[in-house]
Symmetry: C2
Subunit: 343 residues, 2 copies
DNA sequence: AACAAAAATGCAATCGATTGCATAAAATAC
DNA sequence: GTATTTTATGCAATCGATTGCATTTTTGTT
């Protein structure tokens, strides 16, 4: 027996006043007298009035909703980022609609359209692994709807960008491996169409060059960095005539599977072989040996993204003043690369 | 220079037809001729028309949006569950709004109201650790808006419930510890106001009784099961005159911190002390020793929750036919409780 | 060619809240 | 007591899509 909701018109009728007055009273408009406001508010709570946000959204052309598009919701980095977004958004009175691209370009395209049709006030995006065209974001760009890109960004958009310095981090990690005495350092890379993996790769290469180490094409493998991919890669590396003695992995997942495999076949980490990952997944700290990795401040990145987006939505900042924010990140040295301790 | 969007009226004017016809054509209403439909659709794509979902929502009183309320978005169980929901929801044409209670009753109350005002078509909820009143869900119940509870449920609502059998799982885990030769088994429990922790606790107690083992009150500690809480608890257990030789933990996080602490102080797991956790976090498999735990099918639970909810929203099932679905779950025996191997 | 039946389209109200402008009521000024 | 402000409230249009009912156009029948 779904009885229709209480509306401002119901309140108005009951009190013999107009709906406009009710609306203004509930929004605390100074044009309404305190007495009337009190009367209206009392009745509103008595009848259990709940504002219909949809109607308000339609009229005001604002939804107080922000959309998030990430590759996978249940990856720790992303879910923690989302948690940071939600934290700030909720306090500012915004809802968060999440969608995941599953790292598929096609799905990303569809969810972006869907968010647009739902008239979100802005979106926060990390693009899929397959993404190398960015036309679908023009939907938003053309209407000047605020966007924030993070981690894996779309280039050439008027939008804020929130990143870590992947180049520097990979450089530091590689230098660290060199300092530990590793002689042949390999790299398991993700798709270089993405700024993140491209940056990591370049940081790796630059560190080798700075140290006058040869760059060997055999020592770089590209794939999607899943657990299976990590396994495939380490087997391939070990099959080389002149195999590496260390790998810088594009993420922690692949680093983990390498570590497990190396343990299985009796190659000691870090004594015989060093591994460094990327992103500091929760398991990296507790696996044996613990994985050296790069810490990314996911929660804070989410908070920052939400702040920038909401400020822009509410025009608290000068438009066109788009920022690329590099968040602090650092190398966490753990057991998997602490070779010197054993020399 | 935000130019206002293309609407059905713009399309109608351009083609000298009425907006109703445009609306019907875009919705593929059979009352419109194919020729007209084609004409309209062509123009729509040419002008980049995007439907305004808000307007449609207001008129149809449906938002094609479902709300999720979980304690913490970035807990693996929950983020994987959400991923399952999103998976099904997206295919059915629904958006997902997420919010987290942060395990605070007050925030849960606020987000539930917010979701209601946003007129979500239904909600999927796992309540906060603090929740022991459920009045705020009457907002939905009174209007017959579908709800699905999972994991931590609100009792006494006309709603679907998706659970695992916490009692049975805890029972199995306890029996397993007994079978391994543990003599004094402790339990670190969460708030028993929640069905989950209450079930686990009762399963633990029942297993002791079935095996004619004494129940010692000192051996049960209640807290919030954080990493710090796990540490506090294990220290307290070890201080007893007659300390336990095993702990069944209410979750994996607390189990992890116990394992780390025991390793630090030189108590061998599982030889001297056994640990079983709950929920199978990603780290549990890879920590040394790997944590024995209970597997919960989070993704599938999310899919099932979304299916039930959407079916009810779309009235595909007989109302009042509310189900309590017990999902399959099992004990994963790993190193942390495999004492017999060392006897 | 006339008329019934079927198909296609249009009119206008509706969903619920907001808001520019107008009006009514109260307060103040002279 | 009238004119002028100030304060409080109401009217009616609006946001964009949907839909019951009415109307127009086309098709089919004899």
């Amino acid at each position: 027996m779904k009885k229709t909701s209480v509306t401002i018109h119901d309140l108005a009728r009951e009190l013999n006043i107009s709906a406009s007055t009710v609306s203004r009273a509930l929004n605390d408009n100074p044009r309404i007298s305190q007495a009337t406001k009190d009367k209206i508010r009392t009745l509103a709570t008595k009848l259990g009035y709940q504002p219909n946000t949809i109607a308000s959204n339609l009229r005001t052309q604002k939804t107080h909703t922000i959309g998030i598009v990430v590759p996978l919701i249940n990856r720790y980095f992303f879910s923690t980022f989302i948690s940071g977004v939600e934290d700030v958004a909720f306090e500012a009175g915004y809802n968060v609609i999440i969608s995941q691209s599953k790292d598929l370009f096609d799905k990303e395209n569809r969810v972006v359209h869907s968010l647009f049709s739902n008239r979100v006030d802005g979106i926060i995006v990390s693009v899929s692994m397959q993404t190398n065209k960015y036309d679908h974001f023009n939907l938003f760009a053309n209407k000047n709807i605020p966007m924030v890109f993070f981690d894996r960004i779309a280039p050439d958009f008027k939008a804020h960008k929130i990143l870590i310095d992947d180049f520097k981090c990979a450089h530091m990690a590689t230098q660290h491996l060199i300092d530990q005495g590793c002689k042949r350092i390999a790299h398991l890379a993700g798709p270089t169409s993405l700024n993140t993996y491209r940056g990591r790769m370049n940081g790796y290469l630059d560190a080798l060059k700075k140290n006058k180490l040869p760059v060997d094409e055999e020592l770089v493998i590209y794939n999607r960095l899943t657990r299976v991919d990590g396994l495939t890669a380490i087997k391939q590396f070990l099959k080389l005539k002149n195999p590496p003695d260390a790998v810088l992995c594009g993420n922690d997942t692949s680093a983990l599977s390498m570590i497990i495999y190396l343990r299985e076949i009796g190659i000691r980490v870090p004594e015989d072989f060093c591994i460094v990952g990327f992103s500091n997944e929760p398991f990296s700290e507790v696996v044996t040996p613990a994985i050296s990795t790069i810490r990314q401040p996911a929660f804070e990145m989410g908070q920052k993204a939400a702040e920038l987006l909401i400020d822009e939505i509410e025009q608290k900042r000068i438009p066109e003043n788009y920022q690329t924010i590099i968040m602090p990140s650092d190398l966490i040295i753990r057991e998997s690369s602490s070779k010197k301790l054993y020399d």
